[in-house]
Amino acid sequence: MPGFGSAEDVFRREAVRIVASLTAATGDLELAQDAVQEAFVVAMSKWPANGVPINPAGWIATTAKRRAIDQLRRDQRRSEKLLLIAALEREPPNVESHQDEILGLIFACCHPALNIESRVALTLRTVCGLSTAQIAAAFLVSESTMAKRLVRTRTRIRLTGIGYDRPAPERLSARLPAVLAVVYLMYTEGHTAAQGPELTCEAMADEAIRLGGLLEALMPGEPEIMGLSALMRLNHARRNARSEDGNLVLLADQDRSRWDATEIDAAVGLVHRAARIGGVGSYWLQAAIAVEHCIAPTPQATDWAAVVRLYDRLVDVTGSPVAAMNRAIAIAERDGPEHGRAVLEPLRPLLDDYLYFHATDAELARRCREWSIAAAAYRRALALAQNESQREFLVERTSSLATRTS
């Protein structure tokens, strides 16, 4: 069947347009999503026999519209259904340009009035087109639990009066952080599976990057979207060097020839373009820091002074203790481990439950030849590890210390 091998991909790419336009027309995401899903099922049963239509997306859109109208007719309770049916029948199933509807749908799924896990799950389902089963696996819950969660979230959107319109210009900047938080969490969840034995969960990270690209296209020239996209892509470019046989490899020890140079170049370009536009925010700053790492041919060649300056601004903008911790590491690189430790210590009460704080503490103590302090800190970090790769790495570090202290 020509052009049919990637029917899944066709569906996922096109589905969001059709879902978005149907949602905008009916104000009901659940209705739209069910209609499109049904249209796809019909397509999968008819196209193998009858051949793929000349305009597959148009076919899906028309069929979905019919399904939505049928569903509305069947629904006893809806007082405004006649109005909705009339509006749907009037509107031609145009799938060409639905930028505003897609953007509105993204903003609705990412509304700050929804809790973050619900936002991520619904966005993965609605915008990225992942199946409920795939999302359940990513969140380590059963499929039925995830299905219920998605229904609850859509219901909440409907009942609270979260609209599907693209937010008005004056509201856009206030609403954007909530969207970016979803994309970022999607990426970081994909980056480190907190409980599993493997270090990465590719699908979610890939979706996050794709979503970043989609947002760039829908809202061009937004520096924080560009910053976040660049940050994810720079991180993604290093994925093949990050683990060896399932073991964690630190940035300083990574084989830089395994970094994706093309992706790095593209991301660096993005960071520079965003800087020219202005409006530097926390994502851009993190991306700029990642750039410094990615353009250094060796760890020793890293411009640590520039990194420290960027962290100064990042800590200023976010007040984040984790950013302050990373700044301490950069200061250790620039000025020596004692200076790093001096900056790190005041953060202890804030980060005592954070694995990476103790790992950092241990590493800097080790560089200062404080073996027993380092060993104690590695033990503390090990107690906080939630991931096989992290555990193995820390155990390895602890035992390399043991040879020193004995």
């Binding site: 109005l83 979260i162 937010p167």
Partner: protein, 133 residues
């Protein structure tokens, strides 16, 4: 004098074309303190809010409640009427008043809620009213 909560009637969602207006109750939660009355300042700020909401055409009603010292909780269990001293929830915050507004979306309602004076120290719940579907 005890102020009785006015029950707001069920409303049918207005549908003009496909625009839907939803009524929300904005329930104001305020940190408990010993004051028995609104200070002049706070009273004035609420007055400003009410005027602004009215001018924008979104205000449908609302009032302030006397502080929690004046609240009595009524329960009926096994046909017995039980009264207790104070609000239902034991907390530092108590319900101090409400508005009913008519807005196009949660974003609109939330924006108005954010302008309520006690939003800065307490909280405002934004509750869509039940509708006849």
């Amino acid at each position: 004098m005890i102020v009785r909560l006015v029950t707001v009637p069920f409303v049918v969602r207005a549908v003009e074309g496909l625009e839907v207006a939803v009524e929300y109750a904005l329930l104001i939660w305020k940190k408990w303190d010993d004051a028995h009355d609104l200070s002049r300042e706070v009273f004035a700020k609420y007055g400003e809010f009410g005027e602004a909401a009215n001018e924008a055409g979104i205000l449908r009603g609302g009032t302030a409640l006397r502080p929690a010292i004046a609240t009595t909780t009524v329960r009926v269990r096994d046909e017995e009427v039980l009264l207790s001293d104070g609000p239902y929830l034991e907390s530092k915050e108590h319900l101090s008043g409400f508005y009913v507004v008519d807005c196009d979306s949660l974003d609109d309602a939330a924006e108005w809620a954010a302008r309520i004076p006690d939003a800065t120290t307490g909280a405002v719940e934004v509750c869509p009213l039940m509708t006849l579907d």
